[in-house]
């Protein structure tokens, strides 16, 4: 797996409710943002397609290091953007909970973790491509690895603060115990980084217009600046 999903019962009821509230607020904001856009049906359809590919891709075992599964959430962020991407990860988590890949009660916390991947994937890729003018491979790899390393750290922080239910260990001891999770996530994150980078390069060659949304924003600003000047 590129990231570990928590199962039901791992967090206490108070933390489950807290993370559901956080996720609900983010999703409400994304829905509000998308509804104001004129092409919302198209964007909801794209989000649904991204979620479908994310779930279908997860079902495929990649024969690397004995077999791994990828969710491709940073790539969904790059291709669909933060608003659509956040809804896509919610839908992915709903389907995942239905089939046992993460629990129903912890959808809130899992959505927040995946959302971090979407946001970092999108903004890191955009800044690398448009700000630093890095290549697609470098941008795709760096954005994905950064997103998955940060999300792995966030998983550790969330669990260390909340504590695993029925454990008597304090925050520091719990964090030490989760180093294994973080290390596994980072190794898988590097593999997913390579695959995402190759996918971005592939899409850039075959259908570059799919990347226009994330790659053109600053170009537009730059080209519009001189014309606005007297």
């Amino acid at each position: 797996m590129a990231h570990i999903h928590l199962e039901d019962g791992a967090l206490s009821p108070a933390w489950v409710l807290f993370w559901w509230a956080v996720a609900a607020a983010i999703i409400a904001f994304s829905l509000h943002t998308l509804k104001r856009e004129p092409a919302s049906v198209r964007r909801f359809t794209i989000g649904a397609m991204c979620a479908a590919v994310g779930i279908a891709a997860f079902m495929v075992t990649i024969p690397v290091f004995g077999g791994i599964h990828l969710n491709l959430t940073p790539l969904i962020g790059v291709l669909a953007g933060p608003a659509v991407g956040s809804l896509a990860v919610l839908v992915i988590n709903l389907f995942s909970a239905a089939i046992g890949h993460g629990g129903w009660g912890v959808i809130g916390v899992n959505v927040v973790v995946n959302l971090v991947e979407v946001l970092i994937g999108y903004y890191a890729y955009r800044n690398l491509r448009t700000g630093l003018r890095a290549g697609r491979f470098t941008s795709g790899f760096s954005a994905t690895v950064l997103a998955l390393v940060v999300s792995a750290a966030i998983v550790v922080i969330i669990i260390a603060f909340a504590g695993v239910q029925d454990s008597h260990l304090d925050e520091e001891e719990t964090a030490h115990n989760l180093v294994f999770i973080a290390a596994a996530n980072i190794v898988m994150g590097i593999v997913e980084g390579f695959i995402t980078a190759y996918i971005v390069v592939f899409i850039g060659r075959v259908k570059p217009e799919l990347l226009e949304g994330v790659e053109r924003i600053r170009k537009v600003l730059r080209t519009s600046e001189p014309s606005e000047a007297p």
Binding site: I4, H5, E7, D8, G9, P13, I27, L31, L34, V41, R42, F44, T45, I46, A48, M49, C50, A52, V53, A56, A57, M59, V60, I62, V64, F65, G67, L70, L75, V91, L94, F95, A97, A98, I99, G100, G103, W104, V164, Q165, D166, H168, L169, H176, N177, L178, V179, F180, I181, A184, I195, A197, Y198, I199, V201, F202, I203, V206, K207, L210
Partner: protein, 275 residues
């Protein structure tokens, strides 16, 4: 239904849909609202209950529910792999570090690794919680028909989110078939012999890249077609799901009572649950 599945440890949605549409057990005939509320209550119960015996009883109940739906137990055992991997990955270090009585130990020079009883119990509890919900969740989705899922989704989610959820549900079959076809084609041309992380990563990147490109093309086509036919953002509801029957309400109330007892036991410390 497709005869293929990607892996034996990830539930195939086509298999799930097949059982949901074709099954005729007593669980299939149970009202979808009843099963949905029961699922939510099971999730709440595994979150609130901390007693191992109660968790074992809860797990036994979910397995009984699954068996009563005449669903394949052998598949369920294979599908337990990922939830158990998640639990073990989260809890493995706690087995050695959780304070408690030593069950087994190993001297490694100056260091001694010890397995404690509380550590093992912690992992067992997490496994019981996870498996109870997975079992009931699969049993629920393998016994509710698509048209009823549409109705339940529309009544429980914001309209645009429900639309996206249901579009994903529909697209999933096309997308997954497409991915399987490409993988089968590559394997039939000796693609399975490709070795090395870089080469395999490139090969699968091409497969997923194709899937995303096709997905975006399809999304454009479908959204234009839907809009040209007057799609207003909400799926048509073919069949309404009636309210739960008296027996269904009794089952929900029974679980709700157990949840109330568990909450009182946990937060007021009355000691009601003494299994």
């Amino acid at each position: 239904m497709s005869g293929r599945t990607y892996t034996k440890h990830v539930p195939d949605l086509r298999v799930i849909t097949h059982y949901a549409e074709r099954g005729s057990s007593v669980v299939h005939r149970t009202n979808p609202w009843t099963k949905t509320f029961m699922l939510l209550l099971i999730v709440a119960l595994v979150t609130v209950v901390t007693d191992l015996a109660t968790l074992l009883a809860l797990y036994a109940f979910t397995v009984t529910f699954y068996v009563a739906a005449r669903l394949p137990v052998r598949l369920l055992i294979g599908w337990y792999t990922l939830p158990l991997v998640f639990v073990v990955t989260l809890a493995i270090m706690f087995v050695f570090t959780e304070p408690g009585d030593e069950i087994a130990g190993l001297d490694l020079g100056t260091t001694r690794i010890v397995v404690t009883d509380n550590g093992l119990i912690l992992m067992l509890k997490l496994a019981m919680r996870g498996l109870a919900v997975v079992t009931f969740s699969l049993a629920t989705f393998m016994t509710i028909r698509y048209k009823h899922i549409v109705y339940v989704a529309h009544r429980t989610m914001p309209a645009s989110l429900a639309t996206m959820f249901l579009l994903t549900y529909r697209f999933l079959y096309v997308t997954s078939d497409e991915l399987t076809n490409v993988i089968d084609t590559i394997h039939s041309r000796n693609g399975g012999l490709v070795r090395g992380v870089t080469r395999q990563s490139r090969m699968y990147a091409g497969i997923f890249g194709h899937a995303f490109i096709h997905a975006f093309d399809r999304a454009e086509r479908i959204s234009k077609a839907m809009e040209s036919r007057g799609f207003d953002g909400s799926f048509p509801v073919v069949e309404r799901v009636p309210r739960p029957s008296a027996k269904g309400i009794a089952a929900i109330l029974a679980l709700l009572s157990i949840l109330a007892i568990a909450v009182i036991d946990r937060y007021l410390g009355v000691g009601v649950v003494t299994i």
